[in-house]
Symmetry: C2
Subunit: 201 residues, 2 copies
């Protein structure tokens, strides 16, 4: 069995977007597969008593500056969308449906959504935008609309969120988990890299 990197994310997280652009290269280098796990970051914030980074004052200004600085360091196109953040559950639901029923289309859709928001400034909080991006990725838009409205898919997103927040101890995005070890933040990819190389320390 191929070992995995669990990648817990919400489409509204800039750092999750940045990490999503780097994690596959890292996984390939270590002979691992990426298991993409969307969850509702807002639920994690509520459980912890925290909030989106940009809703803090000084921390918000720092983060806004650091999103772009980190993106330049890693050569990833980025601009902070406006409005920000977005409630991204529609995109997450569609990702879950694709992952189950059209696995070939799931990861391309994931990257397309992240880039639509964080490069193209398209507001993924609107269902119409999510469906447009799906269409551009070659996904049947009517099928996508049904998937987003599917109760079983909605339940699955709640279930993943419970798993993240309740069982795994996830409180922010991205959270990467290898062999039970959590790494929180796009800026921990190098540490994760070392962890896999050395088999922990």
């Amino acid at each position: 069995m191929t070992k995995e990197i669990e990648f817990w994310f919400d489409f509204s997280s800039p750092y999750a977007y940045l990490a999503s652009e780097r994690i596959e290269e890292l996984a390939t280098r270590h002979g691992r597969s990426v298991v993409w796990r969307p969850f509702l970051l807002g639920i994690a914030f509520r459980a912890e008593g925290t909030k989106p980074l940009t809703h803090y004052d000084a921390k918000g200004r720092y983060s806004t500056h650091d999103f772009a600085r980190s993106a330049r360091l890693w050569n990833i196109p980025f601009s902070l969308p406006d409005p920000f953040p977005a409630a991204a559950q529609d995109a997450s639901r569609l990702f879950i449906w694709l992952d189950r029923h059209r696995p070939q289309q799931a990861v391309p859709f994931l990257h397309a959504i992240f880039r639509a928001y964080f490069v193209g400034n398209r507001f993924i909080g609107d269902r119409a935008v999510v469906l447009q991006v799906a269409g551009e990725t070659g996904i049947d838009m009517d099928q996508a609309a049904r998937a987003i409205a599917d109760q079983g898919i909605k339940d699955r997103l709640r279930e993943l969120t419970r798993e993240a927040v309740g069982d795994k101890g996830v409180f922010g995005a991205p959270t990467m988990i290898v062999d039970g070890e959590l790494f929180w933040g796009a800026d921990r990819i190098d540490m994760l890299d070392q962890w896999m190389t050395r088999g922990g320390w």
Copy 2:
């Protein structure tokens, strides 16, 4: 004029301790001097609406795990003290006094305090412990007691805190500033290293 790295810290911060063990080597390598700047982290937390890491639930468990994991990665002795955190204003005041009046003793005292708390589990929230550590570092304990009680020194710590929180946009510790650019967190030392090497990006 030698260029500087401003190192903003509170003696109660585990990540500030870890970074304090690495920053001088980094500065030397880049021909810079470290300017040590204590401030009252609790004031920054209050201004931001945040709190000590270990006071969060999942984030607290993660951080507790990560303090030790980061310390092992960087080969720095560490154990999380109990009780934690400590109100470290006495140690900060004495550091400020030493920095002004006994500059040779200031940095050795700084490292001694950090290590007393984060290696030796000695509660630096107690003035008696601060004075003991001062004594062990060769500082006159009566002089140290007067320094801690000095109104001008107390005022200076408040002033530094206002400078950090009000002017510089500091919201956590450690915060390292080079040429006006902020880097928050012990885990950003490698990024800071690259920033100085490349002169920004």
